[in-house]
Symmetry: C2
Subunit: 214 residues, 2 copies
Amino acid sequence: MIKGYRIPDATLERLAIYLRILEELEENGENVVSSMRLASICKINPAQVRKDLSYFGEFGVRGYGYEVDRLINTIKRILGTDREWKLCIVGIGNLGTALIRHGNFIKRGYRFMAAFDSDPSKHGKDLPYGLKIQPVSEMESTIKELRIEIGLITTPPSEAQKVADQLVHSGIRAIINFSPIQVRQKKECIVENVDFTVKLDNLAYHLSNINDKR
Amino acid sequence: MIKGYRIPDATLERLAIYLRILEELEENGENVVSSMRLASICKINPAQVRKDLSYFGEFGVRGYGYEVDRLINTIKRILGTDREWKLCIVGIGNLGTALIRHGNFIKRGYRFMAAFDSDPSKHGKDLPYGLKIQPVSEMESTIKELRIEIGLITTPPSEAQKVADQLVHSGIRAIINFSPIQVRQKKECIVENVDFTVKLDNLAYHLSNINDKR
């Protein structure tokens, strides 16, 4: 891989998906995987899988495939997920609570270090992993003290942009916004807006086309 | 657009994202948008935007741009989101409740028609939109009676595959699985596995590369 070259987001997302599939295969005791098999599980073209991997110097052996554990380590190194990342989350309603409890974050090396909410009646309440809900006024000092790097926003939409600005002001350099509004990116911070319904549009398209054929 | 041609998933996802941006622009009273502006908000290359849209016969006028309302209608027609889609959801914990309450679904034409849980202590409990939590044993009859088309899974991972099989058996043709396990697709049903941490891997990559440069 050429150092300093920026990988396109679409490729990054495919790598992240390969990684998850490979880890599942490894858990099931599989040591080797073919590009065909990986492609079929990911619903991607096998040529695309081979192209993505050969680009990072990973060449499968014809008729044999890729070594699963080696591929896992390579992808983790590329993505920067071979270390732990510290998260905080703002807005502890149903969605915030669900994300903190969701098994995937810690499994993938993302550790919730702090949880904030503007509602005083929630302050001090216990959450999993020894977290307690803190007031938003403690955001800046907590983020700096614990060296938190990534912020998740699960507030109502009316609060999201303000919270994003506060996170950036507190030194956060990457944000995922789950609130149903587009949070605008600032130069010093990367923002990913997650919209649960984007995947539904994809399903709607496929269902429409199946129906057309009937 | 050539009838019957399958649009790649990556293009579909970009169209869904353009649609959301365009609707926000329309809400803010903007009638015309340039490919440059749309690309900048979506963090995509302007040439990609022009290519995606010209493919569907939408040509912007040089120095003027695209008509926002016309583009919204075209994309909705392509995606099949110019009509309402009926959803059900299985697993009414924090995440299930958060999704039902999340404003985006109904705004985008996705209506929750039924909610199921295997825990008898939850049955009959009220949810927003006049929903009540139903036992899983009522899944098949309810889905058929209400002609529900899409199923969301928010159960613990140990339940997800079984629930997916029950949904398919009940006539569901498209599933979104939010549980942290890959649900396998069957021939007669499209499955999208949503993993909240995939976006985090993208951020980890970008943060790692910023840090490298320092």
